[in-house]
Amino acid sequence: MSTQIRERLDNTFRLIFQSSGLLTILLLGGILFMLLYNSLHFFSITSFTDFFFKASWDPDEQYGFIPLLISTLLVSLGAMLLAVPLGILSAAFLSELAPRRVQAFLKPVIELLAAIPSVAVGFLGIVLIGPAIAKVFGLQNGLNALNGSVLLAVMSLPTIITISEDAINAVPKAHKEASLALGADHWQTMFKVTIPSAMPGLIAAVMLGLGRALGETMTVLMATGNASAIPKSFLDSVRTITATIAIEMGEVPYQTRHYFALFAIAAILFLISLIINLTGEFFANRIRKYHA
């Protein structure tokens, strides 16, 4: 092959890779621009106080964002309370305790959990988890924040377990050996040495799991009852930001206040997940650097 052709090929391929990289950035930039542009439009016709201090989301009447924000945070917080202990303990079991054969079987199974479509999870919430919650707590109906939390916990488990396991695996063997040599038993070593030194990775796992839970739409739309009042407990029906957008986007007349309002809440959700994902990435990078 002549040098000329080779150089030309090299250049062409570099161009292809460069432009696909740039395209991704362009897409993200475009989405961000559209969200911000439309939400600025919303705030130019609606005051901040209306948006942040009205107690109800009732399009065309009032645009109180707080019930939606509290609902979203409540459901995600509940999901993390369930998924974090379960996820980290499973990860510890997988990397430290499980025999090789169990490990080889369990890992793909956990990853398969991520492949269940969110509609199917939501359906389980309606026909299985909902009635079960109603029975356990003596409620009339199980479509509430707790139901959403349980389902989102299941959905964020694969993310949390996979990243936590990597973090625990990455703890140098020497740390554990030193601990065992000093007379600490297996449990003490795990809780006082292994898990603390994997902490940045575990935080990253939790953050990315949380990001997954915040953005989930279909499951919470189906399972949480969608009442737009401010929830007082996990047993109240809630209406998350994502569900609101999904329900209302289809019927909103374009270029109206309601239309721009949906962009505004989408932009805020985007900012929240951006911050959470960046935090997760920050800790994930720290552990990578630390062990490099």
Partner: protein, 279 residues
């Protein structure tokens, strides 16, 4: 081959022109599309020489198409409005209407609920959240749980509009009729609204449909087809078909078919109410 296609193309165009009288174009309300398509399909087996095309797009679009000649029949789930009447006058068009079916919304509660019939005023208070406990209005001592539809549903819009209320923020918004029925089966303190057509098809053991009365009038069940034909049920909405008066001869076979026994059977089977008497 190319020339053949070319000829076929012209043949189609000319044949289209020559049979112009045998095509009926129906446009309008999305609520009525499915029912009209079912009726049109059945009509074809009776009158194969008449072709009927049905499309949706909303009641407003249907009426606009009727005015500019793009449709022969406009389906509409609302009455024609002032603005449209004015436009018709400007265009010198005389139109006529026919109510071919009615839609009814049923108010549903648990069998254990003491109510058998309920006033429109009470429904208004319950759905708007003014009354939050059954004990405020009857012997039942439970909080009221409202099960409604999501705001992208036509039923949601209709109930909200005819009662002139804002729904209570505590009202649960369910994905569809089935979910409302299932939730009410489990919740004896619930109240919900679904299309009566769905109730006809669905299994509603353990539930009851409330009769509804407005002021002093008689309480009417949403399943009382005769009362609905007389327009006595509160939550009923007529489904209109508008047409140009001088087209009558052309579209009459289809309208007559809708009025026929077969037509009525199809309307009932699709979950709507046929009209017993023409209005």
């Amino acid at each position: 081959m190319k020339t053949l296609n070319f000829y076929l193309f012209f043949l189609l165009i000319f044949s289209g022109c020559s049979t112009r009288n045998n095509i009926i174009k129906i446009k309008g309300s999305d609520t009525e599309v499915n029912l009209t398509v079912t009726l049109a399909e059945a009509f074809r087996s009776v009158y194969p020489q008449i072709v009927i095309s049905v499309s949706g797009g909303g009641s407003g679009l249907g009426i606009a198409s009727l005015m500019n000649g793009n449709a022969d029949i406009a389906n509409s789930s609302r009455r024609i409005n002032e603005k449209e009447v004015e436009l018709l006058r400007q265009k010198n068009l005389v139109i006529d209407s026919f109510i071919f079916a009615q839609d009814a919304i049923a108010i549903i509660v648990s069998e254990k609920n003491p109510f058998d019939s309920i006033s429109v005023e009470t429904i208004r208070k319950i759905l708007s959240g003014e009354v939050k406990e059954w004990s405020q209005i009857c012997s039942f001592t439970k909080p009221i749980n409202i099960y409604g539809r999501q705001s992208n549903s036509g039923t949601y819009e209709y109930v909200k509009k005819i009662l002139g209320i804002q729904f209570s923020p505590y009202a649960k918004q369910m994905n569809g009729n089935a979910q409302i029925i299932e939730a009410l089966k489990a919740d004896d303190s619930g109240i919900g609204y679904v299309s009566a057509g769905y109730v006809l098809k669905g299994n509603i053991t353990g539930l009851k449909l409330l009769k509804v009365y407005d002021n002093e009038k008689r309480a009417v069940s949403p399943l009382d087809a005769e009362a609905i034909a007389r327009g006595e049920y509160f939550f009923q909405r007529p489904l209109y078909q508008y047409f140009r008066k001088n087209d009558w001869n052309r579209i009459a076979p289809f309208i007559e078919f809708e009025k026929s026994e077969t037509g009525k059977r199809i309307i009932l089977k699709s979950g709507y109410y046929p009209l017993m008497t023409t209005i």
